[in-house]
Structures are given as C-alpha cells and as structure tokens.
Assembly symmetry: C2
Homo-oligomer: 322 residues x 2
Amino acid sequence: MNYKIDNLQYCKWSREVFQINRDAGLDAVHVTVVYHEDYDEFLERINEWSNHFKENSDLIFLGNSYKDIEKAKVEKKTAIFFGFQNCSPIEDDIALIEKVHNHGCRFMQLTYNNQSLLATGCYEKNDSGVTNFGREAIKEMNRVGIVIDMSHSAEKSTFDAIEISEKPIAITHANPIFWHNAKRNKSEDLLKALAESNGMLGLSLYAHHLKDSTNCTLESFCEMTARTAEIMGVKNIGIGSDLCLNQPDNVVEWMRNGTWAKTKNFGEGSKTKAGFPQQPDWFIDARGFKNLEIGLKKVGFNDKDTNDILGNNWFNFYKGIN
Amino acid sequence: MNYKIDNLQYCKWSREVFQINRDAGLDAVHVTVVYHEDYDEFLERINEWSNHFKENSDLIFLGNSYKDIEKAKVEKKTAIFFGFQNCSPIEDDIALIEKVHNHGCRFMQLTYNNQSLLATGCYEKNDSGVTNFGREAIKEMNRVGIVIDMSHSAEKSTFDAIEISEKPIAITHANPIFWHNAKRNKSEDLLKALAESNGMLGLSLYAHHLKDSTNCTLESFCEMTARTAEIMGVKNIGIGSDLCLNQPDNVVEWMRNGTWAKTKNFGEGSKTKAGFPQQPDWFIDARGFKNLEIGLKKVGFNDKDTNDILGNNWFNFYKGIN
C-alpha cells in the first residue's frame, strides 16, 4: 500500500482546496491551525475546523493517528492532522500541552522565527538552545504524543531538541542549505543528526526556500532531493509543501510580524516583495505531486523510493507518534 | 529634603503592612503587582490595588511620577509605584506596553529567572541576550516611561539591555557577587557598566541574597555597601529590600514554578528549605531602615551619602523615568 502525504499546508481553507488535495490523491495533510494564537484563540480555530469537517465530510475528517491515514485511503478522503507553527497556544502552562493534544494537535513547532519560551528561532542573532521550560515541554510532548517540529528554529536549539526528545522529531517544511542558502533552510550536519535520530525532513515547495525561487526547476528540486537522500537516507525524507493557497498578503505580514513589533519585518521577503511569493509552475498546488513523481523517477529514484518520499515515510513516522 | 524609598517589596498587602511602611518613614515603595500573570490577570491585580487605595487612603496612594514622592512626603503617606517581576502581562503584544503604563506600571523585569520572549533569565544554562521582540519592547518602554529592571536576568542579557536602552535601567533588588555568590547576585563588571550608564542597584535584604543568609550581620551588609559604592559610586545605590512580609510559603513555590514545570523547582531554596527564608533580625520589615542608617554611618558614610542611599538616589532616578 502506498500513501500520499503533504506534511505541511497553511491554505485559506475551503471546499475548493480540500477538493484539490483529493484530486492530488493526498491521504493525509498536516495543516497549520495556529501561528501566534494563544489558547483561547486556538479554540476558535478548532471551532472553524469543526465546521470544515461538517461541511466537507465527503472529502476530509480529523486524523488522530496513522490508522486514520489507512482509513482515509480506504474511504478516498484526506485525513487532516492539526499542527502549530508556534508554541503560543500553550502559553506558559505545561498543562495546556495535554489539552491541545486532546483537541487534535499532533505537531508543534517550539519556535516561529523569533525566540519563544521554549527555544530560539532562526531569525534571532543568538541561539541559547532549548530553555528550562522547553525541556519540560519536550518531555510532556513526548508523553502525550505531539511531534516536536523545528522547521523555523535556530540550529543549536534544533540539535538540543534532537538530543532531549526521546522520540524522533521532525522538520516538517524546509530544505537543505547546500542547495539554497536561506535562514530557514538546514545545514548538512543538522540533517545528518536528524536522520541518525530517525527524524523526518519535509521538503518545502515554498518559493523562498527554493533555489531560484519561483523559477526553480523541477529537475533542480529533484536533484536536490537525491543529494539529500545521500546525506540522510531515503527513509527520512518526505514532502511538507508549505502551500499557502488563496491566502491574502496580509496573512504573510501577520505570520512574520505577529504583534511583537511596531516596525514591519519582511522575513524571507523584502519591502518590494512583501507578499506571498508565486509557486513554481510545476507545483502551483498539491496536484504538483504528480510532477514530483515524474521528476524523482527521472533523477534515478526507483518506484519504491519515490512512493516512500511522497508519503510512505511520513506514514511510518506517524506510526511512532503515539 | 531627604526621601526614604524601598524600591522593591512583594508583601501580602494589608493595612498592617502599609502602616509598617509608614512607621518606617517610607515616602515611596515600588511594589510587585505581577509575577507570572497575563494581561487579564494583571487587571485583576489592579482591581485589588484599587481597593487597597480606597481602604487605606490615609496611608497610601498610587504614584505616577517623582512628583508623587514629593507629595507623599508632604502628606505623610507612601506613594505606591507598580512594577512587574516578569514580562508576562505584555504577552506577545507590543501594544500592551502602553496599556500597562496607563494602568500605572513603572518598572518591568524583562525576565523572571527563566527565558522570556524578551531576554534570558539567570536560571537558564545559556544566555542569548535581548531578543528581537526584546529590542522592540525596550524601545517602547523607553518611549512610554517604564524602567527596564534586570534583577532576575542573566548577565549578557543585562549588558545588552544597558546598551540598547536609551534611558538608564535598574536592578531593583540584588547584591554583588563579590560579597555573596548567588545566581541572582551581580558581577563587578556588570555593576560598573550599570553605574556608567547612570543605572541604579537596589540592595536586597532577602536572606538568599545575603552573606550568611538569615545570620548576616548589619555590619557585613553595610561594609558590602561601602565596597559597592567604591565600585559604582554612591549615587547609583539604593535599597530594594525584596521584603515578602506575611506571604505564605505556597507563594514562593508559585513564584519559582509558575505553571511551566511538572516537577518542583526550589530556586534559591532547597527541598529541605523550600519556604520563604527568615529575615535577619535587624531587618524584619521596613522599620529596619533605621538600623541601616545607623549601620551605614558606622562604616563611614556621612549623613548625605547615607540619606542618598536610603532614598534620594532612587528619587533622582525617578525624575528621569518620564
């Protein structure tokens, strides 16, 4: 059995998007439900998702474990797994970790670019690693079954998280620095440590993480995937597209700035390119998985490895969450 | 005119305590209104203080600027200045800084022992300094008139705050490491940098910050003061007693643990000495200012210097806040 999984999307959710994901054959999607929201605001997002599930029950349902990916395959639906891009919903309260898990959270980033109470983000000047509260939070996330996601974290913090966590961690959406040197991408040493601990890297299709941005070629992306497989082993690689379909530009402004600054920060963009970047034409939405399949085979991956990268590796990783 | 100021107390507030502070001749007290509270909980504390002001209007009133210290002197009352021991009330929102100022906040610690969103606390293993949000917050605190207090912060973070802040900062309650080597106490280099930037050190009377703890002698404390004056200049020293009169031991447990850990942390105490430590017998409450006066003169301070340390230096510092 082969599964197709996109392990990071933050679209403006609608029936149209759920239909696209079905057309792409996705059995599971890890969706971002929270950026900077606190616990009460997270509950509002959960209510919105309840409506999505009610109104689109022929296309999606809430996923709690890998068994729901198997179920989705059988029922020809997409299992939706909740995740946070920041730890803001747990505020300063360790007890909220179990509560957000009860509401379906299965992935949580310890940081989003800036310093959090748990660890340092990749946009800070200095990285002090996982904090006192961070150590406690990792222990509790391991216990209840929430994956530690370090996509937007700084390097020492990520090494710390790999070491402290008793379960494999994930970098759900990022690419290697050797291919494109961006603050959000990851070093070879880090990717090796991630793989040695059985962690997963979700390769990103977000233009700011791609060599040549929107003009990145499918061939270049797939060659990067082959080189990454040499470094990490093919079993530790999946897709985390970081698709932000239909989101208006004020959302990326909020993602970058939250409420912490009076001046505007442009993150991976710039003053003249402040909005969401355009997707490369071979991956304008999840239906681009079909192009990835062709491209991966073209650079030498066999059928099995291609299927593993496009979903089976994530499926196996989900088996270990709970 | 001489003013008497205790620039840090966190007592269980009652008429009895306000009366003791009056008996001690205190013209102003900087009181901790918040440890780990968020913005809504801060508003609850403000409500409680409104009641204190109503019920004890013959003894206390809310202080907003140094002019209220002059007024308190004339009216034989104590001006109460609000402060936070953690930055939790501003949550992740720069706009809340102006709001807490409007409610009377005049001092805010960037951290309380652990990492915060703004800086690193003195109980963390690594110190990455003032964060991105921290830089923005300091700018905004400078603008509205809230003093940056680094009493519970780590060393690099404190050096950073001194450098970044356009106004002098304060360490409202701590002692020098040369006298008593505790995580909460400060190095000579740091004290020098603080003094060079016209910042203030409030010497603490809390047993865990004292040489020989509860058994610390008045003579030893005053000799330390003299040595500190040699390092910093007499103008940059005041008192921040850290008095926690009548607080039950579950409060110190909450101060240390907040809600961030499932295991218990004992901070400056230990498993067998988990509660509030006893005060030295020459400073069981603010009436000990009289003993300080005698002690300081005994180690060689003249009348003027003694009065400056016991309040005038803080008074002058308050002049620069707004």
